[in-house]
Structures are given as C-alpha cells and as structure tokens.
C-alpha cells in the first residue's frame, strides 16, 4: 500500500493532468460511497477506472459528469477548480458521458437522438434537418456503422444503439473528457475493434477518456493508466505498462482470485434438442436465421458466438416461441414440437435468461421473492390457492443453491447488486425445473466475482444433466465455458467447434464469414 501511495504522488507531479478530483467524499444517507478519493484523468490518455460493483466507480463517474455533487472535495479541470451542478454544466465544460444503460429516445430517429438539445437551426427557429442528416451520416461513417440517420432508434439492435450513443457524444463541441461506462458490454468483437480505433482517434485529438470496464483483457489492451477503487476508497493508481492482470485482480478484490475455467470434455448424455434448418425471415427481405441446424445433449454447454445481428438472440427467441412464423423442425427428446407461446415452451422445459436484465428479466415493483417464483407460481398451489410454505421453501432453496446475497427476501429487487439481480433471473428460470436452459449474455454488466459465480452455476446445472445454450459476444467467456461452440454469421451457421478446436482465431474467422468488410479488419 505504501509503495503505491508513493507511486501515486509521483504520477501526480506531472502536468499532464486534464481533470483531477481531490479528496472527493460522497456520503449517501447511511453509506459512504466515496471516501476521500483522488482521481487523475491524464490528457489524451485512456484512464481506466476499475473496481467491483459497489466499489464507488459509478458514484465517482457521476460526480465528474455533474450528475451528483460531492459531499466533500474538489474537482479541477486544467488546474482550475470547477463546480458542476448538473450535466449541463459538465457538458459546457466539455465533459461527456456514455452511460452503460443506454439513454436514447426509442421513439425518435437516429439524427434526432444525436442532436437532441443541440439542434442546428435555420434563422434560429426552424430545424435544419438537412444539416442534421449530413452530420449524423458523417459521424456514423466515421464510426464505421453506416446506420441510416433516419432509422428509428427502437428498430436498432442494442449494439447499434450503443454506436448512436457514442455518435451523440462525439457531436458535442469542445469535448475534453469522455467518460465511457462499460461501452463494450453489448458490442461484438468486430464492433469493439471499431470502438478501440475510435478511442485511438479521440486520444490523438487530445481528448481524455475515462474508461470503466469489467473486461480485464480489454483494459490491458486499451488503457494507459488504471485507477482501482475498493469499498469507496482509492486502492491504487498505476501506469498500465507497469502492471498485469493478476495485479489488477489482486487489488480489486483484495486477494488473488482466478477465474474457474471449465475443462472441456466430450459430453455423452442423450440428445435433448435437435433443430433442423430453422429459418426466420427478416422484415424487409433476407433471413435472420437461415437454415440453422444443431443439436444439444444432456449435460452439455453449447456456446453460441456471432457478431451483432448474426441471429444469436433471435435463435434463442425462436426456441422460446417468440417467433411462431419461423420454419424448420425442432425435436425435444425426439418429439417434434412447434414453439408458439412462451408459456408453452416453459411448460415443455425451456427456461430463458434474457439479455436485458432490467427490461426483460425483472419486475422492479415486486420483491426479490416474487421475482424468483414468478414463472413457477402454479407449482405452489392447491387449486388456485397459493401455499405460502411451499413457495417459501423453494425460495430458500434457490437462494442457497445460487448463493444469492439477500438480506431480506421481501425487499424490492432494486436492493440487490447487478450480479445478484442476475442470479435472481437465473433462479426464476431454474425454479420452473427446466430441461434446457437458454442464457443470452448472462454476464453482461456484472463484476468479475459475480461472473465467476454465474459460470459456476452454469457448470453445476450442466452436471445435473440440463442442456445449456449460452449466447455470448465475449470470446474468452464462450471459450472458457462451452463444451462445444456454434458460430452464426448473417443468420447462417458458419462453424461448429469442440474441444481443442475452440480457439479465438477459429471463432472470429467463422463469425466473419460473409462479412467481408469485418474480416478485412481482423486480418
């Protein structure tokens, strides 16, 4: 600890600091979110802020972005003390933020979103939409995502929306500091490459980046400086070139914790699910899923990898009965089924952990307990009467099984951390006693520790004989957890790998098939 303190002082002595927080303390009633934290943002560098969920990085970020005001402490921009009362103040000082949870207007189109509240006008009154469209197109082309400026945001995939969010910030004039909160959490590998290139360009323009991420490999690649928070306190600040991943993990969690990596073995259970030439037409021509065939065995973890828009999520949705218009044959334990309704698929033994926890997984107005039993309530009834004891037993068991950290199960779901909320969503699925578990990006936006726990949970249920399909855009995650991986590209199945064949090169190669421009970037 003392050495690092010394190191930090040295770093501070440089005059390369664009924005500095000094002794920032933030006390919420009942908790100290930040405890006298110093934070330096180096000019034209990527400054990584890292820590487990609840370490205080969101709070610190919110203070810098003017969303929250510190209880104590000062913020300096280019050596001058500044007071940020709201986001408008921050924007005027050239501080921009890209939130992890997207802040877009789904009911408006792309250019309206990008220029919201900084509209260009003719004669100061009439909107200059021609200019908006031009500029939006320019920005999106720079981001290598030629999304139509007139497309409705609600019709874009999550990853594309993220690009719009980035474009929105880049449209800001005189940007000095750009805060990115887990910008890659919903991006595919190719999109991450684009983002990293954009970050490089921003750096060259002298813009300082504050980068928050849980993906350690990514941090090592892109970061210049790293600041680690733990329990609201500054633990360390270091130049990335002087450190390695174990050092980060050690400082983050307080002790070295390594990710459990599942040994890949050939699974010999009997066939649970067989899908033959599953086809889902796309609105406006083409196919979202194009003759996809695969099978799943008992106890097997099947990874599904692919770029954004490859059809990963749609594959899961079709299996859950959300696209009854899909054609093709699906056999569950040898019997042909036609997925039409979600409730029917759940009865047949499918459980679905959706991609977007807040919007699709949880009912925020219900308690932790009720969120857990929501899918399986009919299991605890006598006639139509809900038997409290039966329900409570199940809840207690699942909380133990998944080691969900719950103070009181009657509290609102909001009282849990992201990782524990995700475990609740998984628990809800497990309580329906499924045969097949479909997980769509199960570790999105949760910290390293929680990620490892989610992996453990998945492994445990595979051992119990469940067939598991995991969709992920995080390469290392797919590789470490799957027994077998199928790769989708443009709706087609372009590769199937097992055992030693599962390598980053193989997956990336297959995921780029049919995406010539993407492939070119990778080679």
């Amino acid at each position: 600890m003392m050495n690092q303190e010394g190191g930090r002082r040295d770093l501070q002595s440089t005059d390369q600091i664009c924005l500095a927080a000094r002794g920032v303390t933030k006390i919420y009633p009942g908790t100290v979110a930040l405890d006298k934290v110093d934070f330096n943002v180096y000019r034209g560098k990527v400054n990584v802020l890292i820590g487990e969920n609840g370490a205080g990085k969101s709070t610190l970020m919110k203070i810098i972005a003017g969303i929250e005001q510190p209880t104590e402490g000062k913020i300096f921009l280019n050596g001058e003390e500044i007071h940020l009362h709201n986001t408008r103040d921050a924007a005027a000082k050239g501080i921009g933020i890209i939130h992890q949870e997207l802040n877009l207007f789904p009911n408006l189109n792309v250019y309206q979103n990008i220029f919201m509240a900084r509209e260009a006008t003719k004669y100061g009154i009439v909107l200059d939409n021609k200019k908006h469209k031009e500029k939006a197109r320019e920005l999106l082309e720079k981001l290598e995502h030629p999304i139509s400026p007139e497309a409705m945001v609600s019709e874009l995939r999550v990853g594309q929306q993220q690009i719009v969010e980035i474009a929105k910030t880049m449209a800001q004039q005189d940007l000095h500091v750009l805060i990115m909160d887990e910008p890659t959490s919903s991006l595919s590998a190719a999109e991450v490459e684009v983002l990293f290139r954009i970050i490089g360009e921003l750096k060259e323009q002298g813009i300082s980046i504050v980068y928050i991420s849980h993906r350690l490999e990514e941090i090592m690649r892109i970061g210049d400086y790293v600041t680690i928070l733990r329990d609201g306190r500054l633990i360390a600040e270091e130049e990335i070139k002087n450190i390695d991943i174990p050092w980060i993990v050690k400082n983050m969690v307080g002790h070295s914790k390594t990710k459990t990596i599942k040994k890949q073995t050939e699974v010999k259970g009997k066939e649970l699910l067989r899908v033959e030439s599953l086809t889902l037409p796309r609105k406006g021509g083409g196919y979202t899923l194009d003759k996809v065939s695969f099978s799943l065995r008992e106890g097997e973890i099947l990874g599904v990898y692919g770029l954004l828009g490859a059809g990963r999520t749609e594959l899961i949705e079709t299996l859950m009965g959300m696209h009854p218009e899909a054609t093709g044959d699906i056999y569950l334990e040898g019997k042909k089924i036609k997925p039409r309704f979600i409730w029917e698929q759940i009865q047949r033994g499918f459980a679905h952990i959706p991609e977007d926890r807040q919007r699709e997984g949880l009912v925020q107005t219900l308690s932790i307990a009720k969120n857990l039993t929501l899918s399986s309530l009919s299991n605890y009834t006598k006639g139509f009467h809900l038997v409290q004891n039966k329900e409570d037993e199940s809840i207690t068991k699942i909380i133990q099984d998944l080691s969900i950290k719950v103070a009181d199960r009657k509290l609102p779901i909001l009282s849990l951390s992201g990782g524990n909320q995700q475990k609740v969503v998984i628990g809800k699925g497990i309580l329906t006693s499924p045969k097949i578990l479909l997980l769509d990006e199960p570790t999105r936006g949760i910290d390293v520790g929680a990620k490892a726990e989610v992996f453990d949970i998945i492994g445990k249920f595979a051992l119990q004989g469940l067939g598991i399909i995991v969709v992920s855009s995080e390469l290392k995650e797919v590789i470490s957890i799957s027994d077998r991986v199928i790769v989708l590209s443009n709706g087609k199945l372009t590769g199937e790998f097992r055992g030693d064949e599962i390598t980053e090169q193989a997956l990336v190669g297959a995921s780029a098939a049919g995406h010539n421009y993407c492939y070119a970037q990778h080679t």
Binding site: I27, Y28, P29, G30, T31, V32, A33, D35, E52, N53, G54, A55, D231, M320, F341, I342, W343, Q345, I346, Q347, H352, P354, R359, E360, G361, L362, V363, Q364, T365, L366, K370, L374, S375, L377, S378, T381, F384, H385, L386, K405, A407, L411, P412, L414, S415, L416, S417, K428, T432
Partner: protein, 357 residues
C-alpha cells in the same frame, strides 16, 4: 476506520427516523380520513350520528366497489374509463327487464324474469363490456385509455337507446309477474348493515385474497410492473388483461344494480363521471398509475376519503363548485405525496444495496 463506524451509527439513528417517516407516509390516507371525520364532526354536529354515517357508508360502498375493479385494472398497467357507463347500462337493463320485461314482438309475448336472473343478466352484461375492453387492449393492442373511452360512449349510448332517454320508474315489480324484491338490494340490511356495504366487504375480501394468495393475483402485479418480463416469464399476459377488465366490468355492473335498486328507478345518465371517483379512490389509496403497485385496503380507505369529503361538504353546505375544486386539490396532493414516498423507499432500497457491499 473509527470515522466510518461513527457514520454508520449515525445512519442507524437516521434510518429509524426514516422508517417512522415512511410508516406515517404509508398511513397518510388513513390519517387524512380520521382528520376529515374529526373536522366534519366538529363543524357539523349531525355528521357523527349513526344515520348519517350509514348514509355516508352507503355512498362509499358505490365508489369502493368500482374502485376495487379499477384498482385491478390500474395495477395491471391499464385504465378503465367505461365503468361509469357500465353503471348506467346495467341499471337500465335491469330496470327495463323489471318494468317492461323482455318483449318478443314476433311471438307477441313478454317474458318477465325473476329478479335474481335479472341481476345475473345485468352483471354478465358488465362482464361482456369488460371482455370487449380486454380484447381491444390485449388482442388488438389498442391503448387502454382509448379502448375504454370508446366503450364508455358505446355503453352510455346503449343505456340511452334502451329507454329513448327516459327513466324506468317504480322498479318494485308485480307479485303476479313474480319479479318483486329488487329494492331489497339497495334498502335491505343484514345485522344492521346495509347489503351494499356487505357486497363491498365481500368483493373487497375476495379481491384481496386473489391479489395476495393466487398466482393470478401476482401475475396482475407482474404484468403491470414489467409487461415484457412478465411475458418472458411465461405469464399469459393477454389472459391476465382479459380478467382485470372483465372483473372491472362486473364490479361496475353490480354498482349499477345497487344504485337503481336504491332509487327504485333506472335513469340512463346514472354513473356519469363516476369513473373519476373510482380512479381517485384507487390513486388516493396508493395505487400507482404506472402499474404494478396497489392494495385493496388502500382503495377502500381512498373511497372513504372521497365519500366523507363529498357528503361532509354537502352537509356543511359547501357549494358544488367549490367541492370540485377541493376534490381536485386532494387528489393532486395525494399523488405528490405518493411520489415522495416512492422516491424515499427507492432511496432506502439503494442504501441497503450499498450497505451490503
């Protein structure tokens, strides 16, 4: 480390204060009701007599029964504007069947039903209007506000068409036709308590049971809290929506029967703008207009506040115009305080989350 401990100690004290605060906030409508009763009994000596209290309770029962149906709809994330018209329509159908009977011109006969059969028909008619609302909202994805606005006009129109705008008077029935006994619903009492109040208690208890102790109840809360998540959890969202609208239609049809029985006459304009009282009762009782939150107990207290306020102001001789202004203010203040409480609770939830780290 010491500093941190101190802060935690302070916060424990603070937390106690906030929980007392939340308790007071939660009971606010009840407290408001007590205050109202005290104020009115001081200002108007007649207010606290058994006679006027029963009169107030009878009015309250009407708002409460409609409010219970409305609460179910609002919790599911919808709204039902048609309830007032259903009150009128159900009264007119029942009144017509008693007064004129069912005239079959082709056969040249008129059929008179037993009063219980008539009540059943009227109640089922309410369910039917609710079913139409439900189909519009779930199958055709019409916004609940618009769908029920439409059925509000349609039901009111049919109520007027039924009699050409006339009143069906003197609904006592004739012994030789075997259709007597209708006024009992409004005038009768069991154990000294009017039947309408018993109906309110029964419907309230059954609904509270459904809300707390059946999967259907929780599904209603889930649909209103997050429809997408409910759908993905395997809840048959359309069925849940059908149920709440049909239930709301049923409740208002019952109210229509009670009112026409109390008046011993059916007037087609009965129940005009009563949907606002039902919504107000639900909202005063803490039902969130964005869905997912609400209780039957709250709605009952809300209905009492509206009823006491109404009747108390009438007894005091407050002008009808001022009554409107005061009611409006009460509703707005209630919603503001409700929002305040919700923010406070969210803050507390986030605190426990932060503390657990």
């Amino acid at each position: 480390m010491n500093g941190l401990l101190n802060i935690n100690n302070n916060s424990a004290v603070k937390k106690n204060n906030t929980s007392i605060g939340i308790l007071l906030l939660k009971a606010r409508t009840f407290i408001a009701l007590i205050v109202l009763i005290i104020v009115f009994s001081i200002l108007s000596p007649n207010f606290l007599t058994a006679q006027s209290l029963i009169l107030v309770a009878k009015h309250v029962a009407l708002y409460a029964i409609m409010g219970i149906g409305m609460t179910a709809v609002i919790i599911s994330g919808g709204i039902d504007l048609s309830v007032g018209s259903v009150v009128g329509l159900s009264g007119m159908i029942a009144g017509g069947l008693i007064y004129q009977g069912l005239v079959l011109n082709t056969f040249g006969v008129t059929i008179y039903f037993n009063v219980l059969v008539i009540m059943f028909i009227a109640a089922m008619l309410g369910v039917l209007v609710g079913a139409v609302n439900g189909i519009l909202v779930s199958k055709f994805k019409v916004a609940a506000f618009i769908a029920t606005l439409g059925t509000m006009y349609i039901a009111r129109g049919f109520a007027l068409i039924r009699s050409g705008g006339e009143t069906f008077p003197n609904l006592v029935g004739k012994p030789e036709l075997g259709n007597t006994g209708f006024p009992l619903l409004g005038a009768g009492s069991v154990l000294g308590i009017p039947i309408s109040i018993w109906i309110m208690i029964v419907i309230g208890a059954v609904t509270a049971y459904i809300f707390k102790k059946t999967p259907l109840g929780w599904h209603i809360f889930a649909v209103g809290g997050n429809e997408k998540a409910a759908l993905l959890s395997g809840i048959r969202v359309n069925r849940v929506k059908m149920f709440v609208y049909m239930f709301s239609g049923f409740c208002s049809a019952i109210v229509g029967l009670i009112v026409s029985s109390q008046l011993v006459a059916a007037h087609p304009a009965t129940g005009e703008s009563w949907e606002m009282n039902a919504i107000a009762a639900a909202v005063l009782g803490g039902t969130s207009m964005s869905g997912g939150v609400g209780t039957i107990g709250g709605t009952l207290i809300g209905a009492f506040v509206i009823g006491v306020l109404n009747d108390g102001m009438i007894m005091l001789g407050v002008s009808e115009f001022w009554q409107m202004v005061i009611k409006g203010i009460v509703i707005i203040v209630a919603v503001i305080v409700d929002q305040f409480q919700r923010d406070l609770e969210n803050k507390l939830a986030l605190q426990t989350r932060n503390n657990s780290h």
